[in-house]
């Protein structure tokens, strides 16, 4: 946030983004810049036809010009006025549609960039923040920036025009007006020196307050609130936060009130002085009555144009920060982006993967998560990956799935680095159920078949029968056409954790191109019965395939022919269940710890 604020305050940095803004606009709408230019012209000379008509008319009256020549002179002015009004109408109606289209195009590009950036880069906190800020572009920020720019630029031109007129008619009034400007900016500087720290604190207070409101009403906290009696304590926290917010808000209001009083007083003084000077010269006859009226009008316009220049400048600087985030996010060249078309895996039935002395470290972490892992994985093979929390199990699997890239060492598929294969072809070989798997609010069948347009019904029915989806889906009238959750359908079903995991498993098994199945705690919410049934069918479901099963319930290791035990990022034990259990291994210790709890006959229960 601090970084963000600095960017906001730096007007020069904001203007450096101008080429980027223009190129974004131009790329997405070729005529947009032309429209902006017309807008600038229309706005900057908007007020002059009227002023000039007035001046011209008074001149005609005082000089007793003939009626016909007066009309001849005024027609072009009226025509220009009409033209400008029409131009504004056209622009005002056509722009919102164009803004919408540009916003959508930018959002589509943003969406495709999200898909393109590699997992490791995207996962970082910094990138996630940048992504969230870049997403603001979808809230129409780009259109707002276009508008602020037009306002800023046209006020500037209008000011220049007014200055030129005033130099010619009454330089002294110009001096007064500019002096006023200087005083105003001095007041504004003083004001922002005081108010900016308050606003910064307010942003923090506001985030805290909205977090408190959120937890007070969000469904996920409802249970906790009732049991732990948070109500009184939360009210206290909210009141404290609110008091702090309101008191800083009152201070802000006070300073802004003072500022606007001073501004108005100053405008008033400038106008009085203008009237005095111009009135005096007019009475003395040194300037014409028409110029008196004209200059009064100019001063009015000058003041209003300076106000709109400063306010649009400020808004522009604030808004461009988002453009910067957007451009940075879109231009992010990920160090790991893969070449588009490279080697394809040979269509041999038995693939072979090898980890060769693989090291991996998380950014911001001082210690390696994996420290020289060596591992051989054949097809078919049933592997259990075990170890304590944080041992590196999930990290290893992410490296295998190319979500992370090793810092040292190499992972090979059939003898070639896994990074030599195209992403599409490599991923065809893998399927998974992640610990934090995500299903979609589509129908069951769409979820299981990954919303593919062609469905292999024989395979589908096999899969749903074997994974147990068929058993629980019977009780829903729409069967596989049932929607998951009510995110967008009205008759969706909130399935239980166990049911959702079964759907996730079915989706994973349905992927027939896969040879390797990564199953990370896939049965964590199954009941004993369901787990037992899956274990019995496991061999059949994944026949001829390789599976890597991660679970803290070590009974699952009986499913595997090979157990790999990780500890602090190293493979410390490896072998079949029987091999490991016969020696004094950590695996045996952990297994027996859980097994002991089931040896009920030996326990003293008669309490």
């Amino acid at each position: 946030m601090n970084n963000n604020k600095n960017k906001n305050n730096n007007i020069i940095a904001a203007f450096k983004t101008l080429p980027q803004v223009f190129s974004l606009l131009y790329k997405n709408d070729k005529k947009y810049l032309l429209i902006m230019l017309l807008e600038v012209v229309a706005f900057s000379i908007d007020k002059y036809p009227e002023l000039l008509i007035m001046k011209y008319t008074i001149d005609a009256l005082t000089n007793k010009v003939a009626y016909s020549s007066y009309v001849k002179g005024i027609i072009p002015l009226i025509a220009v006025m009409l033209l400008l009004k029409m131009l504004r109408v056209i622009i005002n109606t056509s722009r919102p549609c164009r803004d919408q289209v540009i916003t959508e195009k930018l959002f589509n590009a943003f969406f495709s960039q999200c898909m393109k950036i590699d997992y490791q880069t995207l996962e970082s906190k910094e990138m996630q923040d940048k992504k969230e800020l870049a997403k603001f572009i979808a809230n129409g920020k780009i259109a707002a920036i276009g508008w602020y720019f037009v306002e800023m630029f046209s006020s500037l031109i209008a000011l220049i025009i007014a200055t030129v007129f005033m130099i010619n008619i009454s330089p002294i009034v110009l001096v007064i007006v500019i002096l006023g400007l200087v005083i105003k900016s001095f007041i504004s500087k003083k004001n922002s020196d005081i108010t900016i720290p308050i606003s910064k604190q307010q942003i923090i207070d506001n985030r805290f307050l909205s977090y408190l409101y959120r937890i007070g009403s969000d469904y996920e906290y409802v249970k906790e609130f009732r049991i732990f009696n948070y109500k009184g304590n939360l009210y206290r926290k909210i009141n404290e936060a609110k008091e702090s917010y309101i008191s800083s808000n009152n201070r802000l209001l006070k300073y802004n009130f003072i500022q606007s009083i001073l501004y108005n007083a100053e405008d008033f003084v400038i106008k009085i002085m203008t009237f005095a000077i111009m009135g005096f010269s007019c009475l003395k006859g040194t300037i014409a009555v028409s110029n008196f009226i004209f200059v009064i009008g100019l001063v009015d316009d000058f003041i209003s144009y300076t106000d709109s220049l400063t306010s649009s400048c400020k808004s522009y600087v604030d808004a461009t920060a988002y453009i910067e985030y957007y451009v940075e996010f879109m231009n992010c060249v990920t160090p790991y982006r893969l070449p588009k078309s490279t080697a394809q895996p040979d269509s041999i039935e038995s693939h072979f993967i090898e980890f060769k002395d693989v090291y991996f470290k998380y950014t911001n972490s001082s210690d390696y998560a994996l420290k020289g892992v060596n591992l051989k994985i054949h097809v078919p093979m049933k592997i259990s990956l075990v170890g304590r929390n944080g041992a590196g199990k999930s990290t290893l699997v992410k490296l295998l799935l190319r979500l992370y890239r090793p810092d040292e060492g190499e992972i090979t598929l059939d003898g070639k680095s896994i990074y030599d294969y195209s992403n599409e072809k490599y991923m065809e070989l893998f399927s998974s159920v992640f610990q934090d798997y995500a299903l979609f609010a589509f129908t069951i069948i769409e979820n299981i078949t990954s919303f593919n347009s062609s469905i292999d019904y024989t395979l589908f029915h096999n899969v749903v029968n074997e994974t147990g989806v068929a058993d629980f889906i019977k009780s829903y009238p729409k069967l596989y056409g049932t929607y998951l959750s009510n995110a967008y359908s009205n008759d969706g079903i909130e399935f239980s954790g166990g049911e959702q995991q079964k759907i996730a498993l079915a989706r994973s098994v349905y992927k027939k191109s896969a040879s390797f199945f990564v199953l990370d705690e896939p049965t964590s919410t199954y009941d004993a019965d369901a787990e037992y049934m899956l274990y019995n069918k496991y061999e059949k479901i994944l026949a001829e395939k390789t599976s890597i099963f991660i679970s803290h319930r070590l009974s699952s290791c009986k499913l595997s022919d090979h157990i790999v035990l990780l500890e602090n990022g190293r493979v410390i034990e490896e072998g079949s269940h029987n091999e490991l259990i016969q020696n004094n291994t950590q695996y045996r210790q952990m297994f027996e710890l859980q097994a002991k709890q089931y040896k009920w006959e030996e326990n003293d229960i008669g309490k």
């Binding site: 946030m1 906190k125 923090i204 985030r207 805290f208 909205s210 977090y211 732990f228 170890g387 304590r388 929390n389 944080g390 705690e521 964590s524 919410t525 199954y526 009941d527 004993a528 019965d529 787990e531 037992y532 274990y535 803290h552 319930r553 070590l554 009974s555 699952s556 009986k558 269940h577 029987n578 259990i581 016969q582 952990m590 297994f591 710890l593 859980q594 097994a595 709890q597 089931y598 040896k599 009920w600 326990n603 229960i605 008669g606 309490k607």
Partner: protein
């Protein structure tokens, strides 16, 4: 209050907050529950994401900390039942079995069959040994 005691949980509103891992968060939840010092505690799958050793330690700690209260465990890991005084088996919204572990094992109902199905996966090894 020291910094160590006042670390914000997650970065929802505090930039300096820490995102704790699933296992850490679960341990914190258990701490929060026990801190309340209530006569009745309810634990719904309290150790789902924890490894065997952490799980064992936590169960031991819960037992010690709350030795005078009533503990209600909701779990799919039936080994928890062995040390419970009373086990309630729910089926279709009804309590179909109740009793201690030995009673329910002798009853040979749903509990016994579910327990055996989990236990066999561990038992075989003991036979092999």
């Amino acid at each position: 209050m020291s910094k160590a005691e006042s670390t914000s949980y997650s970065k929802s509103f505090d930039e300096n907050g820490t995102e704790f891992s699933g296992g850490e968060a679960q341990k914190m939840m258990i701490a929060k529950t026990l801190y309340k010092n209530a006569p009745i505690y309810i634990f719904d799958e309290p150790t789902a994401g924890l490894d065997a050793i952490s799980e064992y330690k936590i169960y031991e700690n819960i037992k010690q900390t709350s030795s005078t209260g009533i503990l209600i465990y909701i779990t799919h890991r039936l080994s928890t039942g062995v040390n419970s005084d009373n086990i309630l088996v729910f089926s279709n919204g009804k309590i179909t079995e109740r009793g201690n572990h030995i009673q329910l094992m002798n009853h040979q109902g749903i509990y016994a069959s579910l327990f055996k199905s989990q236990a066999t996966l561990y038992e075989e090894v003991n036979v092999n040994e």
